[in-house]
């Protein structure tokens, strides 16, 4: 249940990033658009191709990124070739359509086909995400603040 909910949240976040990108000021607008393009279309690929627990998070992100780049480049190149101009609406559809489709495909794969490793796969130690992220955020803010204050 939590996994399905988490996947829905991921898709929702990509959608939100695409929708918010034109509305927020730079650099956040650019970062949101870039993140949506880099992670969105290939979001479902790792779970579509591999059993849960096989990949580490960096592997998952890298595979999602490479798949996103591939899908995005292929889709936009095809659109460009057939004469469709890359307007914000076209770009939004080009990002969100493969995101939804592949997320759905991943969900269907998990529902109807189970890899042999799905049950017994034991991934190497999972990070304690909450303290890890707290540490990253805390150190980033403190270091940035110190650098800013010192005017380095």
């Amino acid at each position: 249940m939590f996994t399905r909910f988490g996947r829905l949240i991921q898709v929702a976040l990509v959608t939100l990033a695409v929708l918010l990108a034109p509305l927020v000021p730079p650099p956040f607008s650019f970062w949101l658009a870039l993140a949506a393009m880099l992670l969105g279309p290939g979001l479902g690929i790792p779970r579509l191709l591999f059993p849960a627990g096989l990949l580490t998070l960096p592997e998952t992100l890298l595979i999602a990124g490479i798949a996103s780049l591939f899908l995005e480049t292929a889709i936009l190149a095809i659109l460009n070739t057939i004469g469709v101009l890359l307007s914000p609406i076209v770009l939004s559809v080009a990002i969100l359509a493969p995101t939804y489709l592949l997320a759905l495909a991943a969900a269907l794969r998990e529902r109807f086909y189970t890899y042999a490793d799905d049950r017994d796969m034991v991934q190497a130690e999972q990070p304690a995400w909450l303290p890890f992220c707290c540490g990253v955020a805390l150190a980033a803010v403190l270091t940035g603040g110190v650098i800013h204050l010192l005017g380095i």
Binding site: M37, I66, T73, P131
Partner: protein, 567 residues
């Protein structure tokens, strides 16, 4: 306070669990990574004060490729505001000859509504995501593979050390800091992807078609992302092949090597047919550069547009179809190697050995600088890979590698901070204002003569009638004698004659001259054929100011624009 609390034993008893519990170790790992992330992000920002966010180009070879100008014009026509010109390696990086980055960044800019040249340049400095996130991610993915392969746990300390290696201390970040581009690292991350796929496929034969699918995606992206990586991997893999033949052991699957070599040779053929002269330089013009004055031929070339001969259709489709068919056949026939228990460290040795021929080629391409730069570029990737391997396989490697990572990070941070941005290709605000004035008041039809750094940035205004010769281009065209007259002699007559010898490719004479006092800066100067910088003389500045047949049309604190009196 009870004195017993002050004893070391009591202190350790109370504090140690907080420091070494699993959750706390991940917290400390997060602290290290967060600090490095912030350091990497902020260290370059303040140094840009006082300069514009727009940067001229460093080489005439790739940025003016007419095919991508045409493509950008089509791609970005919807907004009508994005400049069709984009810098290949720095500043305004939304793509050039390499399509993945064009689509990715150009589309992100359109989607976010950022179309102003200055804003794009500013975003570049605020977005070192490839150096700080993508490359470390690839390195950590590789570490994950090694850890799984050797049945080792992924530990927070090793993750933090590897992030330190792969973040600040990498060539992508150095390039970003010295105003070079983050376009290139994207290609490197894909290079890592290939490496990862080869390794992973080698070790986990259960997921053959899944890894093959990813491998196809990654290798099809490479040429479209960074054409030099395709060249590099071709040379690498040929050498890996030869090394394996020599040592008579197969550490990398033959099938994958054959796939990759086939794909990259196809890509190179695709690229080299158009840029045949460029690749020919390997063999006929060592250590020199060529500026082609007859680039009109290249205007006819379009990756996606019309006017293509049947040959181009064959080449275009072959570049896609052949690799896919090849890979599919191999997958169907299950020719991937499935042997386990491979000695993983031989990967590193093999790939390091394979680096040398590539460096020799790059020496031929770009002299010692080429060999040096490319050794750093590809060598750092291999070094980080080796660190990942050591961290996954050698328990005693943690402490020395932590020390090395600390040293590397400190050196990198200091280097980035102390880099003098004024010696970069960034235009000053005065130069940007003068360019803006020239395009607005005189229009793009008037041909502008200036130095290459400023002239290349004229394209951001949508103006391409510019003459900005470099010493190497003059040398290649046997016009090197013009250089002293243009920048050093201080003689008005010879200067005037020299300017009249300069023509655009459609044989138009300059109607405007833009000179900046930055040319008198020893760190900017004029690049001589041997790549040394030689600043313009004060006498020359005065000669321009009172040049017969020219009038001073615009002037600010450090820049002047002259117009031909007859214009």
């Amino acid at each position: 306070m009870n004195s017993t609390l002050l004893t070391r034993a009591a202190f350790m008893k109370a504090v140690q669990p907080l420091l070494i519990s699993v959750r706390m170790r991940w917290f400390w790992s997060g602290i290290v990574i967060g600090a490095l992330l912030a350091l990497g992000f902020f260290i370059r920002q303040p140094a840009e004060r006082g300069l514009s966010y727009v940067e001229g180009f460093y080489t005439p070879n790739v940025q003016y490729g007419a095919w991508y100008l045409a493509s950008h014009h089509t791609l970005f026509a919807t907004t009508g505001e994005l400049p069709v010109l984009s810098n290949y390696t720095s500043g305004l990086t939304y793509g050039a000859v390499d399509y993945t980055y064009t689509f990715l960044t150009g589309s992100a800019l359109i989607l976010s509504g950022v179309t102003d040249v200055e804003q794009i340049g500013q975003l570049y400095l605020l977005s070192p995501w490839q150096g700080l996130l993508l490359i470390p991610l690839a390195a950590l993915a590789l570490y994950g593979q090694y850890a799984r392969l050797h049945g080792q746990r992924i530990t927070p300390a090793r993750v933090a050390i590897l992030y330190a290696f792969a973040a600040l201390s990498n060539y992508p970040m150095v390039m970003w800091a010295s105003s070079g581009g983050t376009l290139v690292p994207l290609g490197w991350a894909l290079f890592y992807g290939i490496y990862l796929a080869i390794l992973a496929r080698h070790m986990e034969p259960r997921y053959t078609w899944q890894w093959a699918t990813l491998l196809i995606m990654a290798i099809l992206l490479l040429q479209a992302t960074y054409h030099t990586v395709a060249l590099a991997l071709t040379v690498f893999l040929l050498c890996v092949w030869l090394i394996q033949v020599k040592i008579a052991r197969k550490y990398v699957a033959w099938g994958i090597i054959r796939i990759d070599i086939m794909v990259f040779v196809t890509f190179l053929m695709y690229h080299a047919v158009t840029l045949f002269n460029d690749y020919g330089r390997f063999f006929i013009r060592f250590l020199s550069d060529i500026y082609r004055g007859n680039d009109q031929e290249r205007l006819r070339y379009s990756l996606t547009g019309g006017n293509l001969s049947i040959w181009w259709y064959i080449v275009n489709y072959a570049a896609i179809i052949i690799p896919v068919v090849w890979v599919t056949l191999i997958v169907v026939k299950q020719r991937f190697r499935s042997e386990k228990g491979v000695v993983v460290h031989v990967y590193q040795v093999t790939w390091l050995l394979a680096l040398f021929p590539l460096i020799l080629l790059l020496f031929a391409w770009d002299g010692f600088y080429g060999a040096y730069a490319r050794t750093l570029q590809y060598g750092t990737l291999l070094a980080i890979s080796s660190a990942a391997l050591l961290l996954a396989t050698r328990a005693k490697a943690v402490a020395p590698l932590a020390l090395v990572a600390l040293i590397c990070t400190a050196i990198s941070a200091f280097s980035m901070h102390s880099l003098d941005i004024s010696s970069s290709n960034y235009l000053t605000n005065d130069e940007r204002t003068a360019l803006d004035w020239a395009s607005r008041e005189k229009g793009c039809d008037a041909v502008l003569f200036t130095d290459y750094r400023i002239g290349s940035a004229y394209g951001y205004q949508g103006c391409f009638g510019v003459v900005g010769p470099t010493a190497s281009s003059l040398s290649a065209r046997h016009q090197i004698d013009v250089l002293p007259a243009l920048f050093y002699d201080g003689d008005r007559r010879t200067l005037s004659d020299a300017i009249d010898t300069l023509l655009t490719t459609d044989r138009r004479r300059p109607e405007l001259i833009l000179m900046s006092r930055r040319l008198l800066d020893p760190q900017i100067g004029v690049v001589l054929p041997d790549t040394r910088l030689k600043p313009m003389t004060e006498a020359q500045w005065l000669a321009y100011r009172t040049l017969p047949g020219w009038t001073l049309a615009y002037e600010n604190d450090t820049t002047m624009v002259l117009a031909r009196a007859s214009a």
